[in-house]
């Protein structure tokens, strides 16, 4: 499994970020109404951001695979899909923990929550179909990723009329420096971590493609049957 040369640098950056983030987050001023629970926000939002980013990365990779029959696109897509589920689960676990304190319940059928859950389910379906679909499933999954990615903004923007109790994204700009800097830092750290993990997963996919080639070569050489 060959990793790109820049990979270790990214890992080191991510590790540094992960080490520094908790200190920064803890030293940030306490939010007056929510208290300590508000600190979930510092990793809930980055998880959500990465989850959605990753979904669109997956869709981009799928489009490359479908229209340009690029194998690299497919590798990118499957790696990003797995990470969408990973960060999506982080988002869906941390969110309700915050909601328990803020709303008194773990879950409400709010627009944003519904959208996030939907995205998560679509990408779980993606992984399932990939795993058990057999031949041809790669294309189907690429289609699924494209439709899934189209689904999300559609609901997200069109339901602004639907009342939402989830904090709006404008909260971010109202943070002020005290909370803004740790928040930005944790967004950055998560993004770097995402790049590192994505590259790691893609290296595995590249290695797998190489091994498959070797199998075929071995077969041609009469070593396998």
């Amino acid at each position: 499994m060959k990793l790109r040369p820049w990979f270790l640098v990214v890992v080191a950056l991510a590790a540094l970020g992960l080490l520094a983030a908790p200190q920064l987050i803890l030293s940030a001023p306490r939010e007056t109404t929510m208290g300590l629970v508000q600190k979930i926000f510092y990793y809930h939002v980055p998880s959500a951001w990465i989850c959605f980013l990753s979904a669109f990365v997956c869709a981009a990779g799928s489009a490359m695979y479908l229209f340009k029959s690029s194998e690299a696109g497919d590798r990118l897509a499957v790696s990003a899909a797995e990470l969408t589920v990973l960060f999506g689960s982080c988002m869906l676990v941390t969110g309700p923990l915050w909601g328990r304190k803020a709303w008194g319940v773990y879950w409400v059928w709010d627009v944003r929550l519904t959208t996030a859950l939907l995205l998560f389910i679509i990408f779980i379906a993606y992984l399932f179909a990939r795993r058990y679909g057999g031949p041809g499933s790669r294309k189907l999954c690429a289609g699924l990723a494209l439709f899934g990615a189209a689904d999300v903004p559609l609901i997200y923007f069109s339901v602004s009329i639907w009342r939402t109790i989830h904090p709006k994204t404008t909260v971010v700009s109202s943070l002020g420096r005290g909370m803004g800097i740790p928040f930005a830092f944790s967004m950055l750290t998560f993004t770097i971590l995402y790049i590192a993990l994505l590259e790691m997963r893609m290296a595995l996919e590249r290695a797998r493609a190489r091994v498959d080639e070797l199998h075929i070569e071995a077969e041609d050489a009469g070593l396998e049957n």
């Binding site: 982080c90 676990v93 070797l214 396998e224």
Partner: protein, 96 residues
């Protein structure tokens, strides 16, 4: 491909420690913060969140993220190991 395995181990260890040191830092400071914040908060905050202390929720959230990441990295490592075994097998066949 002799070097990726050690690479993987290194990455694994780095991420592992990063998370857990971070977690440890949080664990150390969380009670202090909680005690400090307990005075500042004046009753109305507890109306919805009744009994579960905030530190536990925050801890659970952080813990889950660490757990999920570590499990996922481990699963990638495991899949990589399996591929490695396959390559070894191919090499053995080639040697024959």
């Amino acid at each position: 491909m002799p070097d990726w395995k050690t690479d993987m181990k290194r990455i694994f260890v780095i991420l592992f420690f990063a998370f857990f040191l971070g977690g440890a830092a949080l664990a150390q400071e969380a009670p202090k913060k909680d005690a400090e914040g307990f005075e500042a908060v004046n009753g109305d905050m507890m109306q919805s969140g009744e009994s579960i202390p905030g530190s536990r929720l925050v801890g659970a959230a952080y813990g889950f993220i660490c757990f999920a990441m570590v499990v996922w990295v481990a699963s990638v490592a495991r899949r990589a190991r399996r591929l490695e075994d396959e390559v070894d097998e191919l090499k053995k066949k080639l040697a024959r």
